[in-house]
Amino acid sequence: MLSKRVIPVLTILDNRLVKTEKFSNPIYIGDPINAIRIYNEKEVDEIVVLDIGATKNGKGVNFKLLKELAEECFMPLSYGGGIASLEDAKKIFWIGVEKIIIQNEVFNNPFLISELVRIYGSSSIVISIDVIYSFGRYYAYNYLTNSIREGDLASIIQCFLDLGIGEFCFNLKELDGTLSGPDFSFIKEYIEKINVPSIYIGGISSIRDLEELYNLNLGGIGIGRLFCLYGPHKAPLIRYFK
């Protein structure tokens, strides 16, 4: 039977592993290569690495760091951050990354997505959507401008499905790094209705949350703070369980 993937989500800023809260106040955790090595020893299902400064700071993809990370990874690795061209994608796959995650560029340049799907197939391309809840509705959020993206979220999702996307990654901004529990209504209203696998990220705080999520119709469970910071004082601790 296909088991649900429990996925540590590593956020990187300026080559350092950090953890944010509601997408701000990054806390330094340590060296990302070291962290990947530990997750590898724990035989985690999959790893997601997001370089949260790559687009924002205009630096683009750090191929050198990515190569070092990939060398430590004997599990599937997805990478997102600063991918803006077919050439970027080609280099990233060659390095040894299985899936690329794109967010901002898909809204600027949907043509890139159809090209990526044509060349690399739908199963290698993940669309990431940051989500916020405002006045009773869910919206796609633009972290670069701190604003809501235009358009109805369900239509945005459908639009990417029409382009042949094989996986989504939904990151709920207000729950990021809060350990306040996952947003089950978002999962029911959106994720369960999508016929491709989706990773849910945001607020997961305990093994009980995980157990509840196992019963839902989603592909992967992405976990940040719970697997890298411990206790109310947020001590760095790389761990994994499922």
Binding site: L2, F74, F93, W94, G121, S123, V196
Partner: protein, 203 residues
């Protein structure tokens, strides 16, 4: 003995090499088809769409040398994911002919069959119908990482060395003498992947 990993322009060649290196197996990435004459064992990895893969094999002049390696010299070759699918006749994903080494077609998963999500993505367990050179342990949990939307349907079912239930029972690996294909990614499947590569290197 060195394993030659074909870099034809698609695929995560470095993931394969990283794992081989980790378990102490000598390997080399080849980008020139002529280099294959030195090889005793080849891995054909692959990520991406069927037509793109065939086009790259064609443009890079790989097809003749691969045919010679697999069909005339009959040396061991392991196709991974798209690499496995390219060994077949044709795919519903595209319009090009495959290498045609194995009498099989590549079909798309049918969404309506058993409420499955496509791609088939994640860790799944193999069912082993017969002992084969790569899957021979009794009562062993052969668990591997999959990511694919199309699957191989063999005409000769005797070649199936493992299958997985995902809406349908699909072929997760086949072996026809020296030609081996696996749909999953051993290079991304922790110790089970290492064991498979190690067994392949000893064939």
């Amino acid at each position: 003995m060195k394993i030659y990993v074909v870099d034809y322009g698609t695929g995560n060649v470095n993931s394969v090499v990283n794992m081989l290196t980790w378990i102490g197996i000598d390997s080399v990435i080849i980008q020139n088809p002529k280099d294959i004459i030195y090889a005793d064992k080849v891995i054909l990895p692959g990520i991406g769409s069927f037509d793109n893969g065939m086009q790259l094999l064609q443009d890079g002049n790989w097809i003749d040398v691969l045919n010679e390696f697999a069909l005339i010299k009959q040396k061991y070759i392991l196709g991974i994911c798209l690499g496995m699918q390219l060994m077949c006749n044709f795919s519903e994903e595209g319009t090009k002919n495959g290498l045609g080494w194995i009498d099989a077609n590549v079909l798309k998963f049918n969404e309506s069959e058993g409420k499955i999500k496509i791609p088939h993505m994640g860790w799944n367990n193999l069912n082993i119908p017969i002992n084969s050179s790569l899957f021979y342990k009794q009562d062993f949990d052969y668990r591997y990482y999959f990511v694919h939307s199309y699957y191989v349907e063999l005409n000769n079912r005797d070649l199936i060395t493992s299958y997985v239930d995902y809406g349908v029972n699909f072929t997760s690996s086949f072996q026809c003498d020296n030609i081996i294909g696996v749909q999953f990614h051993p290079e991304k499947s922790h110790k089970n992947g290492m064991n498979l590569f190690s067994d392949f290197s000893k064939l």
